[in-house]
């Protein structure tokens, strides 16, 4: 199953885990499963209208999903998904 890396700021919502393996064919599917499993996590990841929180970036194997198919980006068992809050310029 693909592995999802959780940033420190979101770990309290997922029982302190830094990585979670979860089944799913697309990024959207994985995240929805996590949302069902950890509702407090879901509340931070998604806005009330169901769109992804714009201050959170999601990467598959170090590539931003907005350069691929966004939440429809396909994932396989070997893929690493990372959720990372955006940080300031430099």
């Amino acid at each position: 199953m693909p592995t999802v890396t959780i940033p420190a700021a979101l770990r309290p919502q997922v029982d302190g885990l830094s990585e979670i393996t979860v089944a799913g064919a697309s990024v959207g599917e994985l995240l929805l499963k996590l949302k069902d499993q950890y509702p407090a996590f879901g509340a931070k990841l998604y806005k009330a209208d169901g769109a992804l929180n714009r201050f959170v970036n999601v990467y598959v194997n170090n590539e931003d999903i907005r350069f691929m198919d966004d939440l429809d980006t396909q994932v396989t068992d070997r893929d690493e998904v990372a959720i990372i809050p955006a940080i300031a310029g430099g």
Partner: protein, 416 residues
Amino acid sequence: MSYVKCLRGKESGIEYPITPRTSCDLDFSPVEVVYDYERMKGRVTRKSIEAGPQSLWRYKDLLPIEGEPKTGFHSGWTPLVRANRLAAELGLKELYIKDDSGNRPSFSYKDRVVAVAITKALEFGFKAVGCASTGNLAHSVAAHAAIAGLPSYVMVPYDLEEGKIVAMRVCGPNLVRIKGNYDDVNRLCSQIADKYGWGLVNVNLRPFYTEGAKTHGHEIAEQLGWRLPKHTVLPVAGGTILPKVHKGYQEFIQLGLVEDNQPVFHAAQAEGCCPVAKAIREGKSDFKPQKPNTIAKSIAIGNPADGQYVIQDIKKTGGFAATANDSEIIDAIQLLAKTEGIFTEPAGGTTLACAIKLINDGRIPRDEPVCICITGNGLKTIEAMNGRFPHVEPIEPRMDAFDAMMNSMPARADAN
């Protein structure tokens, strides 16, 4: 005692105590320092500011530090140049260049944000500092860390200009070159922040760091004789400086230090990395990230964390955005140097080139006061000028050789 009240989530409004913090716990939006402006009234005055040091610390009351400054004693208070020759060239009535290319100690606007961040790092008791950077920030962190006596870890893309690398390394930081662009460096740095207990100026010190950028705007207003330019043109990379200069102007308006002339902000980006300018031109409220490909490396940030706040401020003030390609950027670097003697890096060339487009398109009327903000120094990016000048053949140290050379020159402006 400072005028700082708390940190507040920009979107959620949730208040937090003054501690190191990357973002709001609820939604990861940036957190902003909140001040007690009511208490400042009558206390923070033109006179109190004018009595301060000739550095950004003259605005200390509007900065989030509790004790005395620990670095940046010569940062800020850079020249506001009345650019008459450039104004004539562009057909403008009143043009100013806010010139941070000579900022101390590292020759870019970053000395403002880092002076505040590193003072704050010491207040919080951090034993080491660091940053993710496109070069100028790393140089500034390395220099201010040296002044403060702290070890530093600077993370940069592998393909930076040699001048920047040498200038930062000479200050003794731990340099980490990363195989990727700034957005990759940024992502890694955010993960590093989770694991190592460092004060990363643009991660867990970000709310304090960004406040330093306001002083660029404070100085423009004060140096203009306590008034605001009608138009301010700023480069956009991560999106820190433009909203903060806007905040600086608004603070002065709120405190009654300047008249509210409804200042207008305009954004400049390189054509090869213009997510914010693209969104503004298309009338969108959010941007789509891009993969940067531009000579203006210091502003090559394809996924700007504060991009949407730039878009908001441009819309709110009635400004616009422009982009410039590599050759327009280099032309503008030369124009600025030839008219005003200021040698800026490609980010500054981008800002001037975009200002010219905004003037020519009528977005900036020629009879209104304009300030163009130059944020970096050309001596750190000399390779950008490669191939720009013809070879100059050396001559023998003899008068006849000199005369022969002069006779072979085309007509001269200084000829009788």
